[in-house]
C-alpha cells in the first residue's frame, strides 16, 4: 500500500513549491500553479492519506505532466505544497472527490 510519508522520505521524485507556510498561502500557490484545480473536503483520502486543511481544500492536477499538487501539513512546520507523479487512474479517482 502506498504511504505518502514514506514516499516523501525515500523518493526524490517530487517537488516542493512552498514550505513552512500558512494554509491560505499554499492554497494560492496551488491555484496559481496547477492547470486544473479541484476542491475537496478536509479529511478526504488521496493516495491513501487524509488531506489536512481548511475547506474547500485545493488539489491541483497537471494531466500533461501526470502530477498532482496538494497541501501537506505538519503540526510543527506548517503547510507545504507538494507535487508528485501519479498514475492516470489515480487522477480519475481524485477528480471524483471534487465538491465544486
Amino acid at each position: 500500500m502506498f504511504c505518502l510519508e514514506t514516499y516523501l522520505q525515500e523518493s526524490e521524485d517530487y517537488d516542493v513549491l512552498i514550505s513552512r507556510a500558512g494554509f491560505k498561502e499554499c492554497a494560492r500557490v496551488i491555484d496559481e500553479n496547477a492547470p486544473e484545480v479541484i476542491h475537496v473536503k478536509p479529511g478526504e483520502k488521496i493516495l491513501g492519506a487524509r488531506i489536512i486543511g481548511i475547506p474547500p481544500v485545493s488539489v491541483g492536477i497537471n494531466e500533461e505532466k501526470g502530477t498532482i499538487l496538494f497541501p501537506y501539513t505538519k503540526p510543527c512546520y506548517g503547510t507545504a505544497v507538494v507535487e508528485i507523479p501519479v498514475e492516470a487512474e489515480e487522477i480519475a479517482k481524485i477528480r471524483k472527490l471534487n465538491i465544486n
Partner: protein, 157 residues
C-alpha cells in the same frame, strides 16, 4: 462511557501543557474517557508532568491516527490552536468526526488570534474559547470552565 479526543499542537506555547492536563482532569470528572492526540514532543512534556499517567492515559500520534479515524469515533473534540497548522488539523478532525467540538485558541499576537478565530468559525460549528495568552493559562482556564458549564446547561455535552 462517552469518549473525548484532545488535539495538541506544537508545544512551543507554555500554556498548552498545563491546560491540556486541566482539560483532561475536567473531562474525566465529567465521566469522559479521554484520548490525547499530539506530536511526540508535546506528549513528552505531558509525560514528564504526569509520570504515573494519572490524567493522560490514552495517547496517540496526531499524524498517524487521522488515517484510521471515522465519523462518530468520539463524542467530543477539543483542539488546542496557536498556529496555522493547528487550525488545519482541528478543522480536518472536526470534518471527519462530525461531532461536538471546542476550539481553544490562544496567541500573543491579537491579529493572529483573530485570524485563527475567523478560520475556525468560518469552517466549523465549534464553540470557541479564546484569549490572548502565552505564559499564563488562567484566562483560558476560566473561559473554558464557563464554556463547559454553558454546554452542560444547554444539554450539548
Amino acid at each position: 462511557m462517552k469518549k473525548a479526543l484532545i488535539l495538541l499542537g506544537c508545544p512551543e506555547s507554555p500554556s498548552q501543557t498545563p491546560l491540556a492536563v486541566y482539560v483532561t482532569y475536567k473531562l474525566k470528572k465529567m465521566g469522559y474517557d479521554v484520548t490525547t492526540a499530539s506530536t511526540p514532543s508535546a506528549m513528552k512534556l505531558l509525560e514528564v508532568g504526569d509520570p504515573e499517567g494519572y490524567y493522560i492515559k490514552n495517547k496517540i500520534d496526531i499524524e498517524s491516527c487521522i488515517d484510521k479515524l471515522d465519523k462518530g469515533a468520539f463524542d467530543l473534540l477539543i483542539g488546542f490552536i496557536h498556529r496555522d497548522a493547528a487550525v488545519s488539523y482541528f478543522v480536518t478532525f472536526n470534518s471527519i468526526l462530525d461531532t461536538t467540538s471546542i476550539a481553544i485558541i490562544f496567541e500573543k499576537d491579537v491579529e493572529k488570534l483573530e485570524e485563527f478565530q475567523n478560520m475556525v468559525s468560518e469552517s466549523t460549528d465549534a464553540t470557541i474559547v479564546s484569549a490572548r495568552a502565552f505564559h499564563n493559562p488562567t484566562p483560558l482556564r476560566v473561559r473554558f470552565d464557563k464554556t463547559i458549564k454553558k454546554l452542560i446547561e444547554s444539554g450539548e455535552i
